[in-house]
């Protein structure tokens, strides 16, 4: 989220002077709302009912729809706060309508009414192997955890995940799919990643990124005579495909960036990036070199998606101001 919001401008931070456990992030351009704030059941409530947070029964979709609709029409709302530390629902915080509203969480595309309000949607699809590797990295430092407990937690939640979360990806305008690399045979370290940016065709104000020749199928290894890369290198591919019955374009990166010049070389060969100047993608990636994914497709595609959203926002705002002008001309 920090990477995405940084592209719009400014650093999105928790609201100052409010609840220190607020999940909200605010910058000049953006407000990011965590949808956990719309939990209808707190931790104790879910325990009593034997229900996970993934289950729609634990979430108030009516309130979610009401408030997202209000914010979109320029009306401020008093939004509940779900406190992840205490597991309780805290008193609400005032959210003023921002230029770009981002809602993130488990169910942004679950409710049809909320879905229809979205100008753009993204689904982060992490494959099982990568998810397991990431959770191991995250949890092994905690003394309460072991490989078994990490695995057990993933498996216990999988039925609800498959039933309620995963199906949302068919509605997304862009899916970032994260898979294990194909560049290293029998790799089980999960450090090198293969990332696919699946972009829906025909979405208003959204023109998919492409490599070399739009609509064709391209396979590209930038490392060679002009560019030296270290093992395992970088491999790109691009091409049309279908995804849940929709026409899509898929841009894929497998491998890792080691040096600045690899990044700028790749950027110079991609088209339709919606950058405002040559090197903007590289500059954004460098700005956040300490964030995870800065050397692979996850960071690259999140940055690109940020640029696409900025472009979308500017197109929508331009068309809004243009409309009244046309009315007066007549």
């Amino acid at each position: 989220m920090r990477r995405l919001t940084s592209v719009f401008g400014g650093a999105a931070e928790p609201p100052k002077g409010g609840n220190p456990d607020s999940n909200t992030l605010i910058s000049d351009m953006t407000t990011v709302i965590c949808l956990d704030d719309y939990h209808s059941l707190d931790r104790t409530g879910r325990k009593e009912k034997g229900v996970t947070a993934l289950d729609p029964r634990a979430n108030d979709f009516d309130l979610m729809y009401e408030q997202v609709k209000a914010l979109k029409s320029g009306i401020a709302v008093d939004k509940p706060i779900y406190n992840h530390v205490s597991g309780l629902l805290d008193p609400p915080e005032l959210i003023k309508p921002p230029k770009i509203l981002v809602i993130e969480g488990l169910h942004p595309m679950f409710d049809e009414r909320v879905r229809d309000l979205l100008d753009f949607s993204i689904y982060l699809d992490i494959s099982n192997e990568v998810k397991f590797a990431w959770k191991i990295q995250r949890d092994m430092a905690e003394r309460g955890h072991s490989l078994e407990s990490i695995k057990a937690s993933i498996e216990a939640r999988k039925p609800d995940f498959d039933a309620f979360i995963d199906p949302q990806k068919q509605y997304a305008d862009a899916v970032i799919e994260v898979l294990p690399t194909q560049l290293i045979p029998d790799d089980n370290e999960g450090k090198v990643l293969r990332v696919r940016l699946i972009m829906k065709e025909g979405v208003e104000h959204f023109s998919p990124v492409y490599l070399f020749d739009e609509g064709s199928t391209v396979s590209w290894i930038p490392c060679g005579r002009k560019l030296t890369c270290s093992y395992p290198g970088i491999k790109f591919s691009y091409g049309p495909d279908t995804y849940f019955g929709h026409e899509v374009s898929v841009l894929e990166m497998d491998g890792q960036f080691d040096r600045l010049d690899e990044l700028i070389y790749v950027e110079s060969h991609l088209s339709n990036l919606s950058t405002k100047f040559y090197g903007e993608v590289t500059q954004q990636m460098l700005k956040h070199a300490d964030f995870p994914g800065s050397n692979n497709g996850t960071g690259l595609f999140q940055t690109i998606v940020g640029l696409k959203i900025r472009d979308l926002y500017e197109q929508i705002t331009a068309s809004k101001t243009a409309a009244p002008l046309q009315a007066t001309k007549a």
Partner: protein, 83 residues
């Protein structure tokens, strides 16, 4: 063989919560692994583990040396040598 970067544990209270929740989940599931109780217990483990991870990150953000070096990478105490 996984090479893991050493990571600080979360502030004690959250770490304790994680540890407790794992034990509770193991207990809840020993009776009936398919029950809502068992599933909800592991979901709580996930929620607390995520909270612990965020708390660790927040702690890192409050490291005065890290913050100083972000703005002043050329000073003596912040220089790194990558060849």
């Amino acid at each position: 063989m996984q090479v893991m970067k050493p990571v600080r544990a979360a502030p004690d209270s959250i770490s304790e919560k994680v540890e407790k929740s794992v034990k509770e989940a193991q207990e809840a599931c020993s009776d009936d692994p398919a029950s809502g109780e068992c599933v909800a217990a592991w979901d709580e483990v996930e929620e607390l583990s995520a909270a612990a991870s965020h708390a660790r990150d927040k702690k890192k953000d409050n490291d005065p040396l890290e913050n100083y070096c972000k703005e002043n990478p050329e000073t003596d105490e912040c220089r790194t040598y990558d060849n």
